[in-house]
């Protein structure tokens, strides 16, 4: 699943909707492709944290793929780097 654009309300809602749909599918893992996410703020990060929580609660995994430097930096600032599985 790709997460493009910045963390304005529309992409955030789209992410929440997509996670809701994926929770109804027989899958073990969701990979969130962040390669096109040029900017992430606390609200976008909260959406990812919420997705992670929803998936973990149903025994599934969330992996972040190819986060940009800006996104990686935000994860470091907030001490959340180790919270997620990150694929470079």
């Amino acid at each position: 699943m790709a997460c493009a654009g910045s963390s304005t309300p529309t992409p955030r809602r789209r992410l929440e909707d997509q996670i809701g749909k994926l929770l109804r599918e027989p899958i073990d893992e969701v990979v969130l492709d962040l390669s096109e996410t040029g900017f992430l703020d606390s609200s976008g990060l909260r959406a990812i944290l919420s997705a992670h929580r929803r998936l973990t609660e149903s025994d599934r995994r969330l992996q972040l793929r190819a986060p940009s430097e800006a996104v990686t930096r935000l994860l470091e600032i907030t001490g959340l780097t180790d919270h997620f599985t990150v694929e470079k």
Binding site: T8, P9, D41, S42, R46, A70, I77
Partner: protein, 130 residues
């Protein structure tokens, strides 16, 4: 731009956008353009982008009508971004833990308050010395 004595002369950019999250991007872009012009490095510009986004979004989410007026200026040795938007009396400004953590990491100093019917923020970052 450098003054004859080596300091950066005072300058100011003002913009007013609808108090909506969709327009915070414009504030972010203007801030980073100004910071770039003043010689901040890439990491510092990113810090300022994040700081201004967090502060502007906090205000806009608490005051979702009217205009967000932002002034970006240099004052002495600091780069200063100030913003304000009208807010209903008694409406609190909420800053959650995640946002506070980010702001503490990316600002030298910031302030967020409600005064005179407006939600206001100030973000300061020391100007590059070169």
């Amino acid at each position: 731009m450098t003054a004859p004595n080596g300091s950066i002369p005072a300058e100011e950019v003002r913009l007013a956008v609808p108090a909506s999250l969709e327009y915070v991007r414009i504030v972010r872009l203007t801030t980073s353009a100004m910071a770039s012009r003043l010689g901040f490095d890439v990491d510092e510009i990113e810090n300022l982008r994040v700081a201004v986004d967090e502060l502007s979004s906090t205000i806009v989410e608490s005051a979702p009508s009217g205009e967000l007026v932002v002034t970006i200026s240099t004052t002495g040795s600091d780069f200063c971004v100030e913003g304000q938007a009208p807010i209903e009396t008694g409406h609190p400004l909420e800053l959650d833990q995640l946002t506070a953590q980010i702001l503490n990491a990316v600002c030298d100093k910031y302030e967020l308050r409600v005064a005179d019917g407006a939600a206001r923020f100030v973000c300061l970052r020391r100007l590059p010395t070169n």
